[in-house]
Protein backbone atom coordinates (compact mmCIF):
# COMPACT_ATOMS: atom_id res chain seq x y z
CA UNK A 1 0.00 0.00 0.00
CA UNK A 2 1.16 3.54 -0.79
CA UNK A 3 0.25 5.94 1.98
CA UNK A 4 0.79 9.67 2.01
CA UNK A 5 -0.15 11.63 5.11
CA UNK A 6 -0.29 15.43 5.24
CA UNK A 7 2.31 15.85 2.47
CA UNK A 8 3.41 19.38 1.62
CA UNK A 9 6.02 20.49 -0.90
CA UNK A 10 7.65 23.88 -1.09
CA UNK A 11 9.71 24.95 -4.11
CA UNK A 12 11.73 28.16 -3.84
CA UNK A 13 9.49 29.56 -1.15
CA UNK A 14 6.21 28.70 -2.88
CA UNK A 15 3.86 26.05 -1.51
CA UNK A 16 3.05 23.78 -4.45
CA UNK A 17 1.41 21.04 -2.39
CA UNK A 18 -0.44 21.57 0.89
CA UNK A 19 -1.45 18.81 3.28
CA UNK A 20 -2.23 16.10 0.73
CA UNK A 21 -3.15 12.66 2.05
CA UNK A 22 -3.97 9.57 0.02
CA UNK A 23 -4.02 5.82 0.22
CA UNK A 24 -3.44 3.61 -2.82
CA UNK A 25 -4.07 -0.06 -2.17
CA UNK A 26 -2.65 -2.93 -4.22
CA UNK A 27 -5.22 -4.14 -6.71
CA UNK A 28 -6.46 -0.60 -7.26
CA UNK A 29 -5.90 2.00 -9.93
CA UNK A 30 -5.80 5.47 -8.45
CA UNK A 31 -6.25 8.37 -10.87
CA UNK A 32 -5.02 11.86 -10.02
CA UNK A 33 -6.90 14.64 -11.82
CA UNK A 34 -6.77 18.41 -11.68
CA UNK A 35 -6.10 21.46 -13.84
CA UNK A 36 -2.62 22.52 -15.00
CA UNK A 37 -0.47 23.66 -12.10
CA UNK A 38 -2.67 22.00 -9.48
CA UNK A 39 0.27 19.95 -8.16
CA UNK A 40 -0.33 16.55 -9.81
CA UNK A 41 3.23 16.06 -11.04
CA UNK A 42 4.62 17.57 -7.83
CA UNK A 43 2.67 14.97 -5.85
CA UNK A 44 4.08 12.25 -8.10
CA UNK A 45 7.61 13.59 -7.59
CA UNK A 46 7.13 13.66 -3.85
CA UNK A 47 5.93 10.04 -3.97
CA UNK A 48 9.15 9.26 -5.90
CA UNK A 49 11.27 11.22 -3.41
CA UNK A 50 12.47 13.50 -6.23
CA UNK A 51 11.31 16.50 -4.21
CA UNK A 52 11.86 17.07 -0.52
CA UNK A 53 8.53 17.01 1.32
CA UNK A 54 7.01 17.53 4.74
CA UNK A 55 4.70 14.85 6.04
CA UNK A 56 4.89 11.10 5.76
CA UNK A 57 5.00 8.80 2.74
CA UNK A 58 5.27 5.03 3.04
CA UNK A 59 5.44 2.11 0.61
CA UNK A 60 4.09 -1.18 1.94
CA UNK A 61 4.34 0.24 5.46
CA UNK A 62 7.98 1.34 5.16
CA UNK A 63 8.94 5.00 5.44
CA UNK A 64 10.05 6.24 2.00
CA UNK A 65 12.83 8.33 3.57
CA UNK A 66 14.45 5.23 5.06
CA UNK A 67 14.50 3.19 1.83
CA UNK A 68 17.60 3.03 -0.33
CA UNK A 69 17.32 3.90 -4.05
CA UNK A 70 17.76 0.29 -5.05
CA UNK A 71 14.97 -0.81 -2.66
CA UNK A 72 12.47 1.72 -3.99
CA UNK A 73 13.46 0.65 -7.51
CA UNK A 74 12.34 -2.89 -6.77
CA UNK A 75 9.03 -1.69 -5.29
CA UNK A 76 7.86 0.76 -7.91
CA UNK A 77 8.54 1.93 -11.46
CA UNK A 78 7.94 5.47 -12.71
CA UNK A 79 6.85 6.65 -16.15
CA UNK A 80 7.94 10.28 -16.62
CA UNK A 81 6.10 12.73 -18.87
CA UNK A 82 8.68 12.84 -21.59
CA UNK A 83 12.12 11.38 -22.17
CA UNK A 84 14.59 12.54 -24.79
CA UNK A 85 17.77 10.50 -25.09
CA UNK A 86 21.12 12.13 -25.91
CA UNK A 87 22.60 8.99 -27.47
CA UNK A 88 21.39 6.71 -30.30
CA UNK A 89 19.89 3.78 -28.37
CA UNK A 90 17.83 1.10 -30.06
CA UNK A 91 14.34 0.49 -28.72
CA UNK A 92 15.46 -2.81 -27.22
CA UNK A 93 18.35 -1.15 -25.38
CA UNK A 94 16.01 1.48 -23.89
CA UNK A 95 13.52 -1.14 -22.71
CA UNK A 96 16.34 -3.25 -21.25
CA UNK A 97 17.36 -0.29 -19.06
CA UNK A 98 14.27 -1.18 -17.04
CA UNK A 99 16.19 -4.24 -15.88
CA UNK A 100 18.90 -2.09 -14.21
CA UNK A 101 17.61 -2.75 -10.71
CA UNK A 102 17.57 -6.44 -11.58
CA UNK A 103 14.33 -7.52 -9.89
CA UNK A 104 11.84 -7.83 -12.72
CA UNK A 105 10.75 -11.06 -11.07
CA UNK A 106 11.23 -13.31 -14.08
CA UNK A 107 13.76 -16.17 -14.15
CA UNK A 108 17.16 -15.34 -15.59
CA UNK A 109 16.61 -17.57 -18.63
CA UNK A 110 13.60 -15.50 -19.68
CA UNK A 111 15.12 -12.09 -18.95
CA UNK A 112 16.68 -11.66 -22.38
CA UNK A 113 13.22 -12.10 -23.89
CA UNK A 114 11.52 -9.69 -21.51
CA UNK A 115 12.01 -6.54 -23.65
CA UNK A 116 10.19 -8.23 -26.56
CA UNK A 117 7.32 -9.27 -24.28
CA UNK A 118 7.05 -5.80 -22.80
CA UNK A 119 7.07 -4.26 -26.29
CA UNK A 120 4.30 -6.63 -27.35
CA UNK A 121 2.24 -5.47 -24.34
CA UNK A 122 2.37 -1.88 -25.63
CA UNK A 123 1.67 -2.88 -29.25
CA UNK A 124 5.23 -2.33 -30.48
CA UNK A 125 5.94 -5.77 -31.90
CA UNK A 126 8.91 -5.67 -34.25
CA UNK A 127 10.15 -2.29 -33.01
CA UNK A 128 13.06 -3.70 -30.95
CA UNK A 129 15.65 -3.03 -33.65
CA UNK A 130 14.53 0.53 -34.47
CA UNK A 131 16.31 3.60 -33.14
CA UNK A 132 14.44 5.31 -30.30
CA UNK A 133 15.13 8.78 -31.67
CA UNK A 134 13.43 7.95 -34.97
CA UNK A 135 10.08 7.04 -33.42
CA UNK A 136 7.06 9.33 -33.10
CA UNK A 137 6.19 10.88 -29.75
CA UNK A 138 3.45 8.36 -29.05
CA UNK A 139 5.69 5.44 -29.93
CA UNK A 140 8.46 6.78 -27.68
CA UNK A 141 5.95 7.08 -24.86
CA UNK A 142 4.98 3.43 -25.29
CA UNK A 143 8.66 2.38 -25.40
CA UNK A 144 9.15 4.11 -22.06
CA UNK A 145 6.10 2.31 -20.69
CA UNK A 146 7.58 -1.01 -21.84
CA UNK A 147 10.79 -0.09 -19.98
CA UNK A 148 8.78 0.70 -16.85
CA UNK A 149 6.86 -2.57 -17.14
CA UNK A 150 10.15 -4.51 -17.32
CA UNK A 151 11.24 -3.01 -14.01
CA UNK A 152 8.25 -4.45 -12.11
CA UNK A 153 7.15 -7.13 -14.56
CA UNK A 154 5.63 -9.28 -11.83
CA UNK A 155 3.01 -7.11 -10.05
CA UNK A 156 3.56 -9.17 -6.92
CA UNK A 157 7.04 -10.45 -6.08
CA UNK A 158 7.54 -12.84 -3.15
CA UNK A 159 4.16 -11.80 -1.77
CA UNK A 160 5.06 -8.10 -1.86
CA UNK A 161 2.87 -5.92 -4.11
CA UNK A 162 4.62 -3.49 -6.46
CA UNK A 163 3.50 -0.24 -8.00
CA UNK A 164 3.38 1.70 -11.23
CA UNK A 165 3.53 5.50 -11.08
CA UNK A 166 2.37 6.89 -14.42
CA UNK A 167 2.57 10.60 -15.21
CA UNK A 168 0.14 11.20 -18.07
CA UNK A 169 0.70 7.79 -19.65
CA UNK A 170 -1.62 8.40 -22.60
CA UNK A 171 -0.94 12.08 -23.31
CA UNK A 172 0.56 11.52 -26.78
CA UNK A 173 -1.44 8.46 -27.78
CA UNK A 174 -4.22 7.87 -30.29
CA UNK A 175 -7.55 6.57 -29.00
CA UNK A 176 -6.80 2.90 -29.68
CA UNK A 177 -3.53 3.04 -27.77
CA UNK A 178 -5.02 5.14 -24.98
CA UNK A 179 -7.45 2.31 -24.28
CA UNK A 180 -4.76 -0.32 -24.75
CA UNK A 181 -2.35 1.34 -22.29
CA UNK A 182 -5.11 1.88 -19.74
CA UNK A 183 -5.90 -1.84 -20.12
CA UNK A 184 -2.25 -2.64 -19.35
CA UNK A 185 -2.44 -0.49 -16.20
CA UNK A 186 -5.78 -2.04 -15.23
CA UNK A 187 -4.50 -5.60 -15.59
CA UNK A 188 -1.38 -4.73 -13.56
CA UNK A 189 -3.74 -3.72 -10.75
CA UNK A 190 -5.98 -6.74 -11.28
CA UNK A 191 -2.90 -8.98 -10.89
CA UNK A 192 -2.29 -7.55 -7.42
CA UNK A 193 -0.07 -4.53 -8.10
CA UNK A 194 -0.97 -0.92 -7.46
CA UNK A 195 -1.20 1.90 -10.01
CA UNK A 196 -1.18 5.66 -9.49
CA UNK A 197 -1.78 7.53 -12.75
CA UNK A 198 -2.07 11.21 -13.53
CA UNK A 199 -4.81 11.57 -16.13
CA UNK A 200 -6.23 14.52 -17.99
CA UNK A 201 -9.04 12.60 -19.62
CA UNK A 202 -11.88 12.51 -17.10
CA UNK A 203 -13.69 9.78 -19.01
CA UNK A 204 -10.65 7.49 -18.98
CA UNK A 205 -10.36 8.17 -15.26
CA UNK A 206 -14.02 7.26 -14.76
CA UNK A 207 -13.69 4.11 -16.88
CA UNK A 208 -10.51 2.67 -15.40
CA UNK A 209 -9.96 4.08 -11.91
CA UNK A 210 -11.10 2.54 -8.62
CA UNK A 211 -10.58 5.86 -6.92
CA UNK A 212 -9.92 9.40 -8.04
CA UNK A 213 -7.93 12.10 -6.28
CA UNK A 214 -8.85 15.60 -7.46
CA UNK A 215 -6.31 18.34 -6.79
CA UNK A 216 -6.96 22.05 -6.87
CA UNK A 217 -4.23 24.61 -6.14
CA UNK A 218 -2.13 22.04 -4.33
CA UNK A 219 -4.90 20.79 -2.02
CA UNK A 220 -7.16 17.77 -2.15
CA UNK A 221 -10.53 18.82 -3.55
CA UNK A 222 -12.01 15.34 -3.58
CA UNK A 223 -10.94 11.74 -3.01
CA UNK A 224 -13.16 8.71 -3.53
CA UNK A 225 -14.77 6.50 -6.15
CA UNK A 226 -15.38 8.02 -9.60
CA UNK A 227 -19.07 8.49 -8.80
CA UNK A 228 -18.21 10.31 -5.59
CA UNK A 229 -15.64 12.63 -7.13
CA UNK A 230 -17.00 13.28 -10.62
CA UNK A 231 -19.91 15.54 -9.76
CA UNK A 232 -21.10 18.74 -11.41
CA UNK A 233 -20.23 20.82 -8.37
CA UNK A 234 -16.77 19.40 -7.81
CA UNK A 235 -15.74 19.59 -11.47
CA UNK A 236 -16.98 23.15 -11.77
CA UNK A 237 -14.99 24.05 -8.67
CA UNK A 238 -11.78 22.15 -9.54
CA UNK A 239 -11.57 22.99 -13.23
CA UNK A 240 -13.31 26.37 -13.07
CA UNK A 241 -15.44 25.26 -15.98
CA UNK A 242 -19.15 24.40 -15.76
CA UNK A 243 -19.65 20.82 -17.03
CA UNK A 244 -22.41 18.28 -16.65
CA UNK A 245 -21.65 14.77 -15.48
CA UNK A 246 -23.87 12.10 -17.03
CA UNK A 247 -24.20 8.40 -16.39
CA UNK A 248 -24.11 5.45 -18.75
CA UNK A 249 -27.17 3.19 -18.55
CA UNK A 250 -25.98 -0.21 -17.30
CA UNK A 251 -23.11 0.09 -14.77
CA UNK A 252 -23.90 3.73 -14.13
CA UNK A 253 -20.40 4.89 -15.00
CA UNK A 254 -20.07 8.68 -14.88
CA UNK A 255 -19.04 10.45 -18.08
CA UNK A 256 -18.42 14.04 -19.01
CA UNK A 257 -19.21 15.67 -22.33
CA UNK A 258 -16.86 18.65 -22.73
CA UNK A 259 -19.50 20.05 -25.10
CA UNK A 260 -21.66 20.78 -22.06
CA UNK A 261 -19.20 23.45 -20.99
CA UNK A 262 -19.14 25.31 -24.30
CA UNK A 263 -21.16 28.50 -24.28
CA UNK A 264 -24.17 28.41 -26.57
CA UNK A 265 -23.35 31.70 -28.28
CA UNK A 266 -19.84 30.49 -29.12
CA UNK A 267 -21.24 27.51 -30.99
CA UNK A 268 -23.74 29.66 -32.80
CA UNK A 269 -20.95 31.97 -33.95
CA UNK A 270 -19.09 28.96 -35.34
CA UNK A 271 -22.17 27.72 -37.19
CA UNK A 272 -22.80 31.17 -38.62
Amino acid sequence: MIEAYDVSVEISGRRILEGVSLTAKPGQLTAVIGPNGSGKTTLMKALCRDYAYDGLISINGRDLQLLRSIETATLRAVLPQQSALPFPFTVREVVALGLTAGLSGVPLSARKRLPELALARVDLNGFAGRFYGELSGGEQQRVQLARVLCQVWMPVLDGVPRYLFLDEPVSSLDIKHQLMIMDVARSFANAGGGVIAILHDLNLAAMYADQILALRQGRVAGFGTPSEVLTDALLADVFDCPMQVNHTPAPGMPFVLPQSAVRRDAIQTKVA
Partner: protein, 366 residues
Protein backbone atom coordinates in the same frame (compact mmCIF):
# COMPACT_ATOMS: atom_id res chain seq x y z
CA UNK B 1 2.13 -12.43 -18.35
CA UNK B 2 3.40 -15.60 -16.72
CA UNK B 3 1.93 -17.71 -19.47
CA UNK B 4 3.61 -15.64 -22.16
CA UNK B 5 6.93 -16.00 -20.37
CA UNK B 6 6.83 -19.75 -20.01
CA UNK B 7 5.81 -20.09 -23.63
CA UNK B 8 8.82 -18.17 -24.86
CA UNK B 9 11.09 -20.52 -22.92
CA UNK B 10 14.86 -20.34 -22.81
CA UNK B 11 17.05 -18.52 -25.25
CA UNK B 12 19.56 -20.18 -27.52
CA UNK B 13 23.09 -18.89 -27.16
CA UNK B 14 23.55 -18.19 -30.83
CA UNK B 15 20.19 -16.52 -31.26
CA UNK B 16 20.40 -12.88 -32.34
CA UNK B 17 17.77 -10.51 -31.02
CA UNK B 18 16.73 -7.40 -32.95
CA UNK B 19 18.25 -4.25 -31.51
CA UNK B 20 20.67 -6.18 -29.32
CA UNK B 21 24.19 -4.97 -30.08
CA UNK B 22 25.98 -6.69 -27.20
CA UNK B 23 27.69 -9.28 -29.43
CA UNK B 24 28.88 -6.45 -31.67
CA UNK B 25 30.26 -4.71 -28.59
CA UNK B 26 32.16 -7.81 -27.50
CA UNK B 27 33.54 -8.32 -31.02
CA UNK B 28 34.69 -4.70 -31.15
CA UNK B 29 36.58 -5.12 -27.87
CA UNK B 30 38.43 -8.16 -29.21
CA UNK B 31 39.26 -6.44 -32.51
CA UNK B 32 40.44 -3.30 -30.73
CA UNK B 33 42.60 -5.33 -28.35
CA UNK B 34 44.32 -6.90 -31.36
CA UNK B 35 44.68 -3.45 -32.96
CA UNK B 36 46.30 -2.16 -29.78
CA UNK B 37 48.80 -5.03 -29.78
CA UNK B 38 49.70 -4.22 -33.40
CA UNK B 39 50.14 -0.50 -32.70
CA UNK B 40 52.24 -1.36 -29.64
CA UNK B 41 54.56 -3.43 -31.83
CA UNK B 42 54.74 -0.64 -34.42
CA UNK B 43 55.51 1.87 -31.68
CA UNK B 44 58.33 -0.34 -30.38
CA UNK B 45 59.90 -0.95 -33.76
CA UNK B 46 59.87 2.55 -35.25
CA UNK B 47 61.94 5.53 -34.26
CA UNK B 48 64.56 8.02 -35.37
CA UNK B 49 67.55 6.01 -34.07
CA UNK B 50 66.98 2.99 -36.22
CA UNK B 51 67.38 0.74 -33.20
CA UNK B 52 66.07 -2.71 -33.96
CA UNK B 53 63.72 -4.32 -31.50
CA UNK B 54 64.00 -7.55 -33.50
CA UNK B 55 67.76 -7.73 -32.93
CA UNK B 56 67.16 -7.19 -29.25
CA UNK B 57 64.64 -9.97 -29.03
CA UNK B 58 66.97 -12.19 -31.05
CA UNK B 59 69.73 -11.54 -28.53
CA UNK B 60 67.57 -12.96 -25.72
CA UNK B 61 67.77 -16.28 -27.48
CA UNK B 62 71.48 -15.96 -28.32
CA UNK B 63 70.91 -16.19 -32.04
CA UNK B 64 71.91 -12.72 -33.17
CA UNK B 65 74.72 -11.66 -35.46
CA UNK B 66 74.69 -7.96 -34.50
CA UNK B 67 77.82 -6.56 -32.88
CA UNK B 68 77.71 -6.05 -29.09
CA UNK B 69 78.11 -2.26 -29.22
CA UNK B 70 75.10 -1.78 -31.50
CA UNK B 71 73.14 -4.21 -29.36
CA UNK B 72 73.91 -2.21 -26.23
CA UNK B 73 72.76 0.96 -27.97
CA UNK B 74 69.57 -0.71 -29.13
CA UNK B 75 68.95 -1.98 -25.64
CA UNK B 76 69.32 1.51 -24.17
CA UNK B 77 67.07 3.08 -26.81
CA UNK B 78 64.38 0.49 -26.40
CA UNK B 79 64.35 0.08 -22.61
CA UNK B 80 64.81 3.73 -21.69
CA UNK B 81 63.11 5.58 -24.53
CA UNK B 82 60.72 3.53 -26.64
CA UNK B 83 59.27 1.23 -23.98
CA UNK B 84 58.37 3.96 -21.49
CA UNK B 85 57.07 6.10 -24.34
CA UNK B 86 54.88 3.27 -25.58
CA UNK B 87 53.53 2.48 -22.10
CA UNK B 88 52.87 6.16 -21.42
CA UNK B 89 51.08 6.45 -24.77
CA UNK B 90 48.82 3.52 -23.89
CA UNK B 91 48.06 4.92 -20.43
CA UNK B 92 47.46 8.49 -21.56
CA UNK B 93 45.45 7.52 -24.64
CA UNK B 94 43.19 5.24 -22.61
CA UNK B 95 42.82 7.90 -19.90
CA UNK B 96 41.93 10.66 -22.37
CA UNK B 97 39.33 8.60 -24.21
CA UNK B 98 37.81 7.29 -20.97
CA UNK B 99 37.60 10.69 -19.30
CA UNK B 100 35.93 12.11 -22.43
CA UNK B 101 33.40 9.28 -22.45
CA UNK B 102 32.70 9.59 -18.72
CA UNK B 103 32.14 13.29 -19.08
CA UNK B 104 29.78 12.80 -22.03
CA UNK B 105 27.76 10.30 -20.01
CA UNK B 106 27.76 12.50 -16.92
CA UNK B 107 26.63 15.59 -18.83
CA UNK B 108 24.37 13.51 -21.10
CA UNK B 109 25.98 15.20 -24.05
CA UNK B 110 28.23 13.79 -26.79
CA UNK B 111 30.13 17.09 -27.11
CA UNK B 112 31.52 17.18 -23.57
CA UNK B 113 35.27 16.66 -23.29
CA UNK B 114 37.77 17.66 -20.59
CA UNK B 115 39.89 19.45 -23.20
CA UNK B 116 37.00 21.48 -24.60
CA UNK B 117 35.31 22.56 -21.40
CA UNK B 118 38.31 23.77 -19.43
CA UNK B 119 39.01 20.75 -17.23
CA UNK B 120 42.37 20.14 -18.90
CA UNK B 121 43.16 23.85 -18.48
CA UNK B 122 42.33 23.53 -14.78
CA UNK B 123 44.52 20.46 -14.48
CA UNK B 124 47.26 22.35 -16.33
CA UNK B 125 46.96 25.22 -13.88
CA UNK B 126 47.49 22.78 -11.03
CA UNK B 127 50.59 21.37 -12.74
CA UNK B 128 52.07 24.81 -13.50
CA UNK B 129 51.29 25.89 -9.96
CA UNK B 130 53.33 23.05 -8.50
CA UNK B 131 56.23 23.62 -10.91
CA UNK B 132 56.43 27.36 -10.17
CA UNK B 133 55.41 27.47 -6.51
CA UNK B 134 56.53 23.96 -5.53
CA UNK B 135 59.71 25.18 -3.85
CA UNK B 136 58.17 28.18 -2.11
CA UNK B 137 54.47 28.57 -1.36
CA UNK B 138 53.48 24.96 -2.01
CA UNK B 139 56.69 23.44 -0.59
CA UNK B 140 54.86 21.50 2.16
CA UNK B 141 52.69 19.90 -0.50
CA UNK B 142 55.69 18.84 -2.61
CA UNK B 143 57.41 17.47 0.48
CA UNK B 144 54.32 15.51 1.40
CA UNK B 145 53.52 14.03 -2.00
CA UNK B 146 57.01 13.47 -3.44
CA UNK B 147 56.95 12.25 -7.04
CA UNK B 148 53.14 12.39 -7.00
CA UNK B 149 52.92 16.13 -6.34
CA UNK B 150 52.59 17.10 -10.02
CA UNK B 151 49.89 14.47 -10.54
CA UNK B 152 47.99 15.41 -7.41
CA UNK B 153 48.11 19.13 -8.26
CA UNK B 154 46.72 18.43 -11.74
CA UNK B 155 44.08 16.15 -10.26
CA UNK B 156 42.96 18.81 -7.79
CA UNK B 157 42.94 21.47 -10.53
CA UNK B 158 40.83 19.21 -12.75
CA UNK B 159 38.52 18.29 -9.88
CA UNK B 160 37.82 21.91 -8.96
CA UNK B 161 37.12 22.93 -12.56
CA UNK B 162 34.81 19.94 -13.11
CA UNK B 163 32.82 20.81 -9.99
CA UNK B 164 32.52 24.46 -10.98
CA UNK B 165 31.47 23.47 -14.48
CA UNK B 166 28.89 21.02 -13.19
CA UNK B 167 27.41 23.52 -10.76
CA UNK B 168 27.19 26.24 -13.39
CA UNK B 169 25.92 24.18 -16.31
CA UNK B 170 23.52 21.77 -14.61
CA UNK B 171 20.21 22.67 -13.10
CA UNK B 172 17.79 20.07 -11.73
CA UNK B 173 19.71 17.33 -13.49
CA UNK B 174 19.55 18.94 -16.92
CA UNK B 175 22.71 20.24 -18.56
CA UNK B 176 22.27 23.10 -20.97
CA UNK B 177 24.76 22.47 -23.76
CA UNK B 178 25.28 26.15 -24.57
CA UNK B 179 25.82 27.01 -20.90
CA UNK B 180 28.25 24.13 -20.53
CA UNK B 181 30.40 25.12 -23.52
CA UNK B 182 30.36 28.81 -22.62
CA UNK B 183 31.13 28.09 -18.97
CA UNK B 184 33.94 25.86 -20.22
CA UNK B 185 35.37 28.73 -22.26
CA UNK B 186 35.18 31.05 -19.24
CA UNK B 187 36.76 28.52 -16.88
CA UNK B 188 39.45 27.66 -19.44
CA UNK B 189 40.25 31.35 -19.97
CA UNK B 190 40.42 31.98 -16.24
CA UNK B 191 42.69 29.00 -15.66
CA UNK B 192 44.78 30.14 -18.64
CA UNK B 193 45.08 33.66 -17.20
CA UNK B 194 46.26 32.42 -13.82
CA UNK B 195 48.64 30.03 -15.56
CA UNK B 196 49.98 33.04 -17.51
CA UNK B 197 50.63 34.94 -14.30
CA UNK B 198 52.48 31.94 -12.86
CA UNK B 199 54.59 31.62 -16.01
CA UNK B 200 55.35 35.35 -15.76
CA UNK B 201 56.72 35.04 -12.24
CA UNK B 202 58.60 31.79 -12.94
CA UNK B 203 62.39 31.69 -12.73
CA UNK B 204 64.57 30.66 -15.66
CA UNK B 205 64.99 27.08 -14.51
CA UNK B 206 61.26 26.76 -13.81
CA UNK B 207 60.57 28.09 -17.30
CA UNK B 208 62.68 25.29 -18.73
CA UNK B 209 60.68 22.75 -16.70
CA UNK B 210 57.46 24.35 -17.91
CA UNK B 211 58.53 24.19 -21.53
CA UNK B 212 59.38 20.51 -21.23
CA UNK B 213 56.13 19.79 -19.45
CA UNK B 214 53.89 21.87 -21.68
CA UNK B 215 54.91 20.46 -25.06
CA UNK B 216 51.80 18.34 -25.20
CA UNK B 217 53.76 15.28 -26.20
CA UNK B 218 54.98 11.90 -25.10
CA UNK B 219 58.59 12.75 -25.92
CA UNK B 220 59.58 13.21 -22.29
CA UNK B 221 58.41 9.76 -21.32
CA UNK B 222 60.46 8.02 -18.66
CA UNK B 223 59.95 5.40 -15.98
CA UNK B 224 59.50 8.01 -13.23
CA UNK B 225 56.52 9.52 -15.02
CA UNK B 226 55.00 6.10 -15.49
CA UNK B 227 55.47 5.30 -11.81
CA UNK B 228 53.80 8.58 -10.87
CA UNK B 229 50.84 8.65 -13.26
CA UNK B 230 50.38 4.98 -14.11
CA UNK B 231 48.79 3.86 -10.83
CA UNK B 232 46.35 6.79 -10.82
CA UNK B 233 45.28 6.10 -14.41
CA UNK B 234 44.94 2.37 -13.79
CA UNK B 235 42.80 2.99 -10.70
CA UNK B 236 40.61 5.53 -12.55
CA UNK B 237 40.12 3.18 -15.51
CA UNK B 238 39.29 0.25 -13.26
CA UNK B 239 36.83 2.35 -11.29
CA UNK B 240 35.18 3.58 -14.48
CA UNK B 241 34.29 -0.01 -15.38
CA UNK B 242 31.94 -0.02 -12.38
CA UNK B 243 30.24 3.15 -13.62
CA UNK B 244 29.00 1.60 -16.88
CA UNK B 245 25.52 0.51 -15.79
CA UNK B 246 24.95 3.78 -13.95
CA UNK B 247 25.97 5.81 -17.01
CA UNK B 248 23.46 3.85 -19.08
CA UNK B 249 20.71 4.63 -16.58
CA UNK B 250 21.79 8.27 -16.47
CA UNK B 251 21.11 8.72 -20.20
CA UNK B 252 17.39 8.68 -19.28
CA UNK B 253 17.94 11.71 -17.04
CA UNK B 254 18.89 12.01 -13.40
CA UNK B 255 15.39 11.59 -11.98
CA UNK B 256 14.69 8.46 -14.01
CA UNK B 257 18.12 7.05 -13.19
CA UNK B 258 17.18 7.45 -9.54
CA UNK B 259 13.88 5.66 -10.16
CA UNK B 260 15.87 2.80 -11.67
CA UNK B 261 17.76 2.44 -8.40
CA UNK B 262 20.89 4.52 -9.02
CA UNK B 263 22.13 6.52 -6.01
CA UNK B 264 22.49 9.54 -8.28
CA UNK B 265 24.37 12.01 -6.08
CA UNK B 266 27.04 9.53 -4.98
CA UNK B 267 27.32 8.23 -8.52
CA UNK B 268 27.92 11.69 -9.99
CA UNK B 269 30.58 12.38 -7.38
CA UNK B 270 32.37 9.13 -8.26
CA UNK B 271 32.21 9.94 -11.99
CA UNK B 272 33.54 13.48 -11.47
CA UNK B 273 36.45 12.19 -9.36
CA UNK B 274 37.27 9.56 -12.01
CA UNK B 275 37.22 12.19 -14.79
CA UNK B 276 39.46 14.53 -12.79
CA UNK B 277 41.87 11.74 -11.84
CA UNK B 278 42.25 10.43 -15.40
CA UNK B 279 42.53 13.93 -16.88
CA UNK B 280 44.86 15.18 -14.15
CA UNK B 281 47.20 12.21 -14.35
CA UNK B 282 47.45 12.41 -18.13
CA UNK B 283 47.83 16.21 -18.26
CA UNK B 284 50.57 15.97 -15.62
CA UNK B 285 52.76 13.74 -17.82
CA UNK B 286 51.88 14.81 -21.34
CA UNK B 287 50.46 18.33 -21.21
CA UNK B 288 47.24 18.97 -23.04
CA UNK B 289 46.47 16.54 -25.87
CA UNK B 290 43.16 17.46 -27.41
CA UNK B 291 40.25 15.71 -29.15
CA UNK B 292 41.06 12.09 -28.22
CA UNK B 293 38.18 12.18 -25.74
CA UNK B 294 35.76 13.40 -28.42
CA UNK B 295 36.82 11.47 -31.50
CA UNK B 296 37.24 8.00 -30.01
CA UNK B 297 33.95 7.63 -28.07
CA UNK B 298 31.98 9.23 -30.89
CA UNK B 299 33.33 6.89 -33.57
CA UNK B 300 32.67 3.86 -31.38
CA UNK B 301 29.15 5.01 -30.51
CA UNK B 302 28.39 5.08 -34.23
CA UNK B 303 29.58 1.48 -34.62
CA UNK B 304 28.61 -0.39 -31.44
CA UNK B 305 26.00 1.94 -29.92
CA UNK B 306 25.96 3.88 -26.67
CA UNK B 307 25.93 0.98 -24.15
CA UNK B 308 28.69 1.97 -21.72
CA UNK B 309 29.39 -1.63 -20.71
CA UNK B 310 31.06 -2.09 -24.09
CA UNK B 311 31.80 1.53 -24.91
CA UNK B 312 34.07 2.06 -21.89
CA UNK B 313 36.58 -0.76 -22.55
CA UNK B 314 36.38 -0.19 -26.31
CA UNK B 315 37.12 3.54 -25.89
CA UNK B 316 40.08 2.86 -23.60
CA UNK B 317 41.54 0.41 -26.16
CA UNK B 318 40.94 2.62 -29.20
CA UNK B 319 42.15 5.70 -27.32
CA UNK B 320 45.42 3.94 -26.58
CA UNK B 321 45.83 2.80 -30.21
CA UNK B 322 44.87 6.23 -31.54
CA UNK B 323 47.45 7.99 -29.39
CA UNK B 324 50.19 5.49 -30.29
CA UNK B 325 49.42 5.97 -33.99
CA UNK B 326 49.39 9.76 -33.61
CA UNK B 327 52.70 9.48 -31.78
CA UNK B 328 54.18 7.37 -34.57
CA UNK B 329 53.05 9.95 -37.12
CA UNK B 330 54.46 12.80 -35.04
CA UNK B 331 57.83 11.02 -34.90
CA UNK B 332 57.99 10.05 -38.56
CA UNK B 333 56.68 13.00 -40.64
CA UNK B 334 59.54 15.37 -39.79
CA UNK B 335 62.13 12.77 -38.65
CA UNK B 336 64.62 13.05 -37.06
CA UNK B 337 62.81 15.94 -35.37
CA UNK B 338 59.27 15.41 -34.16
CA UNK B 339 55.95 17.27 -34.11
CA UNK B 340 54.15 17.81 -30.82
CA UNK B 341 51.53 15.06 -30.72
CA UNK B 342 48.83 17.62 -29.92
CA UNK B 343 49.21 18.96 -33.48
CA UNK B 344 48.49 15.52 -34.92
CA UNK B 345 45.43 14.83 -32.73
CA UNK B 346 44.08 18.34 -33.42
CA UNK B 347 44.58 17.90 -37.17
CA UNK B 348 42.44 14.78 -37.03
CA UNK B 349 40.07 15.91 -34.27
CA UNK B 350 39.27 19.45 -35.39
CA UNK B 351 37.66 18.49 -38.70
CA UNK B 352 36.03 15.50 -37.03
CA UNK B 353 34.44 17.76 -34.42
CA UNK B 354 33.10 20.05 -37.15
CA UNK B 355 31.66 17.01 -38.89
CA UNK B 356 29.82 16.01 -35.68
CA UNK B 357 28.41 19.52 -35.43
CA UNK B 358 27.20 19.37 -39.04
CA UNK B 359 25.54 16.02 -38.45
CA UNK B 360 23.84 17.24 -35.30
CA UNK B 361 22.83 20.63 -36.66
CA UNK B 362 19.75 19.29 -38.35
CA UNK B 363 18.93 16.65 -35.78
CA UNK B 364 18.86 18.63 -32.53
CA UNK B 365 18.10 22.26 -31.97
CA UNK B 366 19.90 23.95 -29.10
Amino acid sequence: MTAALSMSGGLGRAERLAGDRSSLGRLAIVVLAVLLLVTMVISMTTGASGASALNLIGSWFGGTTADPAALLRDQTVIYNIRLPRMILGVLVGAALATSGLLMQGLFRNPLADPGLVGVSAGAGLGAVGIIVLGTTMLAPLTALLGIYSLQMASFIGGLITTFILYRVATKAGQTAIATMLLAGIAIGALAGAITGVLVYVATDSQLRDLTFWGLGSLSGANWTKIMASGPIIVVALTASAFLAKGLNALTLGEATAGHLGLPVQRFKLAAIVAVAAATGASVAVSGGIGFVGIVVPHLLRLVIGPDHRYLLPASALLGASFLLMADAVSRLVVAPAELPIGIVTAAVGGPFFLWILLRRRNAIAW
